[in-house]
């Protein structure tokens, strides 16, 4: 009698030989919510903009509703930057960090689109810059627009880079048999200890070859040393270990490079964000003081 609890399994006929993606972490609802909010906000403002273009003789950033768009854009910039505060200082605020990141991403993209409408695409689609003075005119308005654009572009590019590099690391971690960087470093160290143990009491060529292969993994393919017969078995074992180590070192470097790219881009984005926020804040506050609060002193600078 031969029995089992389970029904027979169906054979998987069409097995794919690509890297398996077996499981998926559920996506956040915030992705859709913030996208929808951004689209609605942009659509609403776009309708008002279209209306203003059609009805006003000289629509521009100093007259409503385009002036109002500027105020909204500035508000959105501050709100978008709140992600950074949430991540660093106000962690008790409701929502997961990823929900805030999606707000940061979608509102950030929307902000530049609204800011473009605020400027009525001056220097972008019309009235192109003739010299560098356009960057300083009107309270550095064009500088603020450009810096906001650069900020958003670096953010979007960084996000795409994150996706790309994260997948690179994921592929490497699932195929190297060990895992991510921390695990790789430990395993490589273990293998090195293993090689050192094999080197103990061996001839100089044996040790030299192993140490050289540890320092320069490519030297593995070099000329093999002449060894005594009693050392041959250990040498084969050492070679296998070194080959395994070399493969792991390559994997480690790939992962480290990917992580470095992610971090470098993120750091660059943070510095760009700081600079851009200063320029945007300068322009926005100056315009607010000069043309919204109508303080004559500031109108000299605007």
């Amino acid at each position: 009698m031969s029995l089992t609890t389970k029904q027979a399994q169906s054979r998987i006929a069409d097995k794919q030989h690509t890297t398996p993606r077996l499981w998926k972490v559920p996506a956040s609802m915030a992705w859709w919510l913030w996208l929808a909010a951004s689209v609605l906000l942009y659509a609403g403002i776009f309708i008002v903009y279209e209306q203003a273009i059609r009805t006003q003789q000289y629509p521009g950033p100093f007259y409503d509703p385009l002036r109002l768009f500027g105020i909204i854009a500035f508000g959105l910039v501050l709100f978008t930057a709140a992600y950074s505060l949430r991540r660093r200082f106000m962690r008790g605020l409701p929502g997961k960090a990823q929900d805030w990141l999606w707000m940061h991403t979608w509102l950030g993209i929307t902000t530049i689109l609204i800011a473009l409408m605020h400027s009525n695409y001056i220097h972008i689609l019309n009235n192109f810059c003739q010299n560098l003075s356009c960057f300083t005119e009107e309270g550095a308005g064009f500088s603020a627009l450009v810096s906001l654009g650069v900020l958003v572009i670096t953010g979007v590019a960084g996000r795409l880079l994150d996706i790309w590099q994260a997948r690179t690391i994921a592929h490497d971690a699932s195929s190297n048999g060990v895992g991510i960087i921390q695990a790789l470093e430990e395993r490589i160290l273990e293998l090195e200890y293993g090689v050192e143990r094999l080197c103990a009491g061996k001839s100089e060529p044996f040790k030299h070859y192993c140490m050289r292969a540890i320092d320069h993994p490519r030297a593995l393919s070099g000329r093999l040393p002449q060894l005594q017969p009693r050392e041959q078995a250990d040498f084969r074992c050492a070679c296998e270990t070194l080959a395994r180590r070399a493969a792991l070192v390559r994997s480690l470097r790939r992962q480290q490079r990917a992580r470095l790219i992610i971090r470098a881009w993120r750091t660059a984005h943070m510095y760009i964000a700081s600079a851009a926020l200063l320029i945007i804040a300068y322009h926005s506050i100056l315009e607010l003081l000069a043309y919204v609060l109508n303080i004559p002193f500031f109108q000299r600078f605007a």
């Binding site: 009698m1 031969s2 029995l3 089992t4 609890t5 389970k6 029904q7 027979a8 399994q9 169906s10 054979r11 998987i12 069409d14 097995k15 794919q16 690509t18 398996p20 993606r21 077996l22 499981w23 998926k24 972490v25 559920p26 996506a27 956040s28 991540r87 660093r88 200082f89 962690r91 008790g92 997961k96 960090a97 990823q98 805030w100 990141l101 994150d162 590099q165 994260a166 997948r167 690391i169 994921a170 971690a173 699932s174 060990v178 895992g179 991510i180 960087i181 921390q182 695990a183 430990e186 992580r259 992610i262 993120r266 943070m270």
Partner: protein, 678 residues
């Protein structure tokens, strides 16, 4: 159920975690004491708080002389035999075995006097100690005084809580975790269970002399029933540690409970199996009682391929607990990890083998090996044949099942053989115990940007990160090194109740923990760490708060403000000396928390905080403050118990970190096998 004749109590208790320990001979003890250079390293390494008040000279003198000073005796009593003192000894002395010899000389504390002063205060009106004892003697396991002496019972009472309940009070809830045993001394208690329609259905009414909660105590599984007082009742709530101590002292009691648990487990499985439908309860009970239950450790074989035809293989095996792998011999070095066996299936709790033959239906033998702790019920062939003669329809169902399997096997070629990728994934998930967990922290590597926010958030909240992103990688998922809250946690064997489980299932470290490391050693997945509580080493994530101004600014800019606000409040596990009320009503259940502890205002364990006594420490002993200060503690993930969210999951900006129930997320082992790689 009758118990065996009285068994002589052991010389030492509390060393269940070291079953293979062998005491030193008199000569060896003298030799080791002579070897000792008095460097005191063992005492510095000792996690017992009282070790700060005992010198090595005191200890050596007590070990080889007849005089044992009171503070040494107390220290000996508190020694948990963790072995921390052994590796630090420069002359390779076995201080743990020297302590064992001292413990043997001191004898078992439960043989000594018992301090009942606290219990007397809480006795219901009109009750006294003889009445209490007589009520305890009504319990089936305590009926024979020569087996369980009065003194043991009094110690048991002193370590337990006496609850005086008003009608309607909930004693335990279905689905909640708990390891306390409840003995009904007065009144009646109703047991109920939620039916298929979601309504609570009464299951039984217990009366004086009966007990409940033994399933949770023995298996660590959630409660099966809800218990509510039907009339005014008096219940003795025995903490797991006190019961374990009694089971150590009276092995016949252990046999009593294991037989009870085995029979109930087998009955439950047989009743669930469609093959046994229509069989009378009495017959199910009879066949369950006839089964032989065996325990297998990790990597132990249930039966081997080459043992075909042996009696062991001619039985029906039902897995009561754990996971096994089914393998077949293959060409040398062509199996997984170049072994000479190929794993063809995994089986788990509730699965069964008949005839000991293969899973493919080709009547070839297989090797079945335990990959976790396994408990198996074995039914001899004769008993099964006799059962089939009584119930021919069951025999027919078995034959039908076999026929279906054969047909299925022919139709699909080689059924049940996973593809290589799936086999690796499956082995990792099952073999490395992921499916044993109830809450596993997974990281989707396709999303993770390796920013380490999860670890940093954990460190901010708890003072020390309780997780490590490094872990096993299966497909695109990394199983982070963080406690998985196992269904049956092997780490929970702490005589001080330093590790406990919330009703919701979160296993957490209590204020009784002294960092002896026994739980960490028992955890098969290295998910428990021991940290020193002195100021120099326990600084949490304050690295960035020192150093140059630039470094501090950079840390502030990149990491933000350090600590997290919010107070964590967790209950003490079964501590009998609390000041909480013992009279409960249904609305005051929360008062059951005998002492509320908050490690520190911001949730971090305060450096060198005093250790709370465990449930077995019933005698109030005057000691100096130094003798109460903890040196170390264990740290482990408790799913941020006491907080409204989990720091790691909350902080992940990519949503890559997630707590999942392994079966729901990865699928059952069969689903994983069927899953197509996409």
């Amino acid at each position: 159920m009758h118990m065996q004749t009285p068994v002589k109590s052991p010389l030492v208790v509390g060393i269940e975690h070291r079953p293979d320990v062998k005491p030193l001979s008199e000569e060896a003890i003298r030799f080791e004491i002579d070897m000792c250079i008095g460097c005191d390293r063992c005492m510095r390494a000792c996690p017992v708080p009282l070790s700060a008040s005992v010198t090595i000279a005191d200890l050596n003198r007590a070990t080889i002389s007849d005089e044992i000073a009171p503070h040494v005796a107390l220290f000996t009593e508190e020694c948990v035999m963790c072995g921390s003192c052994v590796p630090v000894c420069p002359v390779d002395n076995h201080r743990d075995l020297l302590m064992l010899s001292l413990k043997q000389r001191l004898g078992i504390s439960w043989n000594g006097q018992v301090d009942l002063s606290r219990v007397l205060n809480y006795l219901p009106p009109g009750w006294n100690v003889p009445l209490l004892l007589s009520r305890l003697r009504e319990q089936p396991m305590f009926r024979e005084p020569q087996l369980v002496p009065d003194n043991y019972l009094l110690h048991l009472v002193a370590s337990s809580k006496l609850l005086t309940l008003v009608p309607g009070t909930t004693i335990m809830r279905e689905g909640e975790f708990g390891r306390e045993l409840y003995m009904l001394l007065e009144g009646r208690v109703e047991l109920s269970s939620v039916g298929f329609d979601g309504r609570e259905l009464p299951v039984a009414v217990l009366q004086r002399g009966e007990y409940m909660g033994e399933h949770g105590m023995l298996t660590g599984q959630p409660r099966h029933e809800t218990a509510r007082a039907r009339t005014p009742a008096v219940v003795l709530e025995v903490p797991e540690q006190a019961m374990q101590r009694l089971l150590e002292l009276v092995p016949a009691l252990r046999t009593f409970f294991s037989i009870l648990d085995d029979t109930r487990s087998i009955e439950a499985i047989l009743k669930r199996m469609a093959l046994f439908s229509g069989v009378a309860d009495a017959d199910i009970r009879a066949i369950a009682a006839g089964a032989q239950v065996r325990h297998y450790g990790r990597d132990e074989r249930l039966f081997a391929e080459e043992g075909h035809g042996q009696p062991m293989r001619e039985t029906l095996h039902i897995l009561l607990e754990g996971f096994v792998k089914v393998a077949r011999r293959t060409l040398a070095g062509t199996g997984r990890d170049r072994s000479d066996e190929r794993i063809i299936a995994y089986r788990q709790h509730g699965d069964y083998f008949a005839g000991g033959l293969d899973m493919l239906g080709d009547r070839r033998a297989v090797t079945v090996t335990a990959i976790t702790r396994v408990r198996v019920a074995e039914f001899p062939r004769q008993a099964l044949v006799a059962f089939f003669a009584r119930y021919p329809e069951v025999g027919q169902r078995f034959q039908e099942r076999l026929r279906e399997y054969h047909e299925s096997a022919r139709a699909t070629g080689a059924p049940g053989q996973p593809t290589e990728d799936e086999a690796v994934a499956l082995h990792a998930l099952v073999g490395d115990g992921v499916v044993e967990g109830t809450e596993v922290l997974v990281i989707d590597l396709d999303k993770c940007i390796h920013c380490n926010e999860c670890e940093e958030a954990c460190a901010r909240r708890h003072g020390h990160s309780r997780m490590n992103r490094k872990g096993m990688v299966v497909g695109n998922i990394s199983i982070a090194t963080a406690c998985r809250q196992c269904q049956d946690p092997v780490c929970m064997l702490c005589s001080r109740a330093g590790i406990a489980r919330m009703p919701g299932g979160e296993v957490y470290i209590t204020e009784s923990c002294i960092g002896c490391g026994i739980c960490a050693e028992r955890c098969p997945y290295d998910n428990i760490s021991i940290v020193s509580l002195d100021d120099d080493t326990y600084q949490g994530n304050e690295q960035g708060q020192q150093g140059s101004l630039l470094a501090r600014f950079r840390h502030f800019f990149s990491e933000g403000a350090g600590k997290e606000r919010g107070r964590r409040v967790l209950p003490m596990a079964g501590h009998p000396q609390g000041d909480g009320p013992t009279i409960y009503d249904s609305t005051a259940r929360s008062a059951n928390v005998s002492r509320i502890v908050g490690p520190s205002p911001c949730g971090w364990p305060a450096p060198a905080s005093p250790a709370a006594p465990g449930p077995l420490a019933t005698q109030r002993v005057q000691r100096d403050a130094l003798g109460e200060m903890r040196k170390k503690i264990a740290i482990k993930c408790d799913l941020c118990a006491g907080y409204s969210n989990q720091a790691c999951v909350q902080a992940c900006p990519m949503g890559a970190a997630l707590r999942v129930q392994p079966i729901a997320f990865f699928g059952s082992t069969e689903e994983i096998l069927r899953r197509r790689t996409t």
